[in-house]
Each structure stands twice: as structure tokens, then as C-alpha cells.
Symmetry: C2
Subunit: 203 residues, 2 copies
């Protein structure tokens, strides 16, 4: 069947590219190299994915979509602020630890194409406040937490979570950590971030 063939070539390209990107770094992998390794014609690759960047986006789309839904559900649930923050921070860092390329990739999209970037799904996943802002306001009015600008609080939360992954190589070099140690350090940020966020709004 044609559709099976199509899917095979598409999938093969994405798998091959993913392996190469992780192994060598995105910028040290050529499109011709990907096509060759996948046993697929370069033109066909540009037929499915119009650009290398788009190929990269497709590769992460699935994992980003799944995790993004999880993250949004946490913020939109009926749990307490405290519980939401804790679950959000934990789930987000777990997600990024499994796919460390997501943050630099999304940031490069924002940087490269500032105008169109905000419309991309993978980008929106990184920034979705929704019902969380309202809850922060309501709880502040009830006196359960200190009044706080919801947008600023949300931006602070994702800053604390995401930025360390953007500067991971730098931190790793500066502190002389191996891969396991830097991974552990990022894990231990979970509680650090949670504590910092909650301390700032504790009534």
C-alpha cells in the first residue's frame, strides 16, 4: 500500500534524524546525511518535511503534545494551589529530563522566528496559563495566599523550571559535573523550586 510506504519512509526519517540529532547535535547533522542513513531520497525528505527545522519540530511534536496535555490538566484541575505547583514542577522536570533537547529547540524557534513562533503548538505548550491565573486571584482574595500578579508568578514558575535546561552545558562545565550528577542536580531542583514558589505566596 502507498500509505504504508509513506508512513515507513516518514517514520524512518524521523527515527534516523532523532538518533543523529541526539548523537551528534542538531547542527552537526546534514540533511543529506539523514536521508542517506534512512535510505530515503533527499527530495522525498523535503517532500514530507519542508525544512530541517520542521523535521525537528515533527520529531518532538508527539512527546511535547502528550506532556503538554498532562501539564495543562494539572493546572486546570480542581486541586489546591500548593498541590498544583508541586505536581506541575515535578511533571515538567520529568518531561524535560527525558527530552533535554526540547528547551533549546523551542527557544531557538522563538529566537529565529519571533513572529510566527507563538502560533506553534510545541511553543504554546511551554506557555499556557489558563485557569491557573484565576485561581491565584481567588485564593488571594480569600486570604489563603499573598496577593500576587498571576502572570508574573506563572512566568517565574516556568523560568525556574525551564531555564536550567537551557544552560545545562554551561552549569555542567562550571561545576565540573558528569552526566549523572547534572541529572541529579536538576532532579533536586524540584523541591527547591516548589519551596521557593510557595514561600513567596504563603499568607
Amino acid at each position: 500500500m502507498d500509505s504504508k510506504q509513506a508512513n515507513n519512509s516518514r517514520l524512518k526519517l524521523m527515527e534516523t534524524a532523532r538518533e543523529l540529532f541526539i548523537a551528534k547535535g542538531v547542527d552537526r547533522v546534514g540533511v543529506r546525511e539523514i536521508a542517506t542513513n534512512a535510505g530515503v531520497n533527499l527530495s522525498l525528505m523535503n517532500y514530507y518535511f519542508q525544512s530541517k527545522e520542521n523535521l525537528l519540530e515533527q520529531i518532538f511534536e508527539d512527546s511535547i503534545k502528550n506532556y503538554g496535555q498532562t501539564l495543562r490538566q494539572i493546572l486546570n484541575s480542581h486541586k489546591s494551589i500548593d498541590q498544583k505547583v508541586k505536581e506541575y514542577v515535578y511533571a515538567y522536570i520529568d518531561m524535560l529530563s527525558k527530552d533535554p533537547l526540547i528547551v533549546p529547540f523551542v527557544l531557538s524557534i522563538i529566537h529565529r522566528n519571533a513572529e510566527q513562533a507563538p502560533r506553534l503548538k510545541s511553543v504554546q505548550t511551554l506557555y499556557s496559563t489558563d485557569a491557573f491565573a484565576k485561581q491565584l486571584k481567588q485564593e488571594a482574595e480569600k486570604g489563603n495566599i499573598k496577593p500576587v500578579d498571576p502572570e508574573q508568578f506563572y512566568i517565574s514558575m516556568i523560568s525556574l523550571i525551564l531555564f536550567p535546561f537551557a544552560i545545562k552545558p554551561l552549569v555542567q562545565y562550571r561545576l565540573g559535573l558528569n552526566d549523572e550528577e547534572i541529572a541529579l542536580s536538576l532532579q533536586s531542583r524540584k523541591d527547591h523550586i516548589y519551596n521557593m514558589l510557595m514561600a513567596s505566596i504563603k499568607a
Copy 2:
């Protein structure tokens, strides 16, 4: 004089490039375009700056160097933690507000060349903890502040400061802010960040 001529071409290239980079975005500006607009031969441009990325780095080197020294002096001074954090946050955000391209540029360097990046001066400026960590430990032992992992605290501090500049276009689009409004929002983060950091270590 020869040196004046040289400086003229060099400066003209840097000024022209700077304007184009800010106006169109780094990746939508070609090297031939820069040379043409500056009225300078492309070969000469490669004579002074060997690559587009190096040109970019040269453009920011001065401002980064000056501000970097200011920031380091704040952290290495003999002021209180409270005072240092306040001055550091304020000075850093002022610096980034004047040169909004610094953060995405440095992050792209880290992303592109993870191995060599940590050695670059412009990169090191963004991450220099030095004496600040010791002070955090000492103050915790004295009971003046809550005990905290100094590295985590420092990373949190620069995350809160820097990340919003990395996602500025995204935030601007999502909240529907014009240039003045987003600038104001970033200014008002100064106190937000300062309060959050101090609340997390208040004894």
C-alpha cells in the same frame, strides 16, 4: 590615517549589522546584505570578523563586558545578601532591557556549541557565582537566613532574571502587549523577583 579607516569600516559594519539584526532578526540578515548596506566589501568583512556568529559576538562584547563587571562587583562586594540581590536583579534587568538580543544570542551559542561555549567570556558573564555562594552559607550558619543550596539559589536567581527575555516574543503575543507594555512588564519583574528570592530565604 590607516587606523582610522580601519576603525571606520569595522565600526560601520558593526553598527549596520546591529541595526539589521535588531530590525529583521539575526537569521533573516545575510552577510552579503550587511556588507552591502555598510558600503564595505564582503571580503573585508570576513577579514575583520571571520564568521557571522563572531560578528554577532563582537557586537555585544563591549556591553556584555561592561555590565558583566558591574554585576560581578555587586556579588563580590561587602553588602548584605538582601542588598546584593536587589542591586543584582535591578542591574541585570536594566542591562538586558537595553540589549534584548543578548540572552537569545548567548543561549544559541550554548545550544550550537555546547563544548566550547562555557569558555567564551560573553557566556561566562551570564554565570558567575564566586563569593556569593560563600556568603549565603555563612549567613545561613549565623541564622540570618534559611539554609539554602547556594548553587541552586544562584541558578534560580538568574533563571528568574534571564528566562523572560528568552521568551519575550511569546509572552508579548500571548498577553497582547505592545513594545512599551512588555518593557514595563519586564521592569515590574524587578521587585517580583527580589521579593520571591528573599521570601524563600527569610529566616
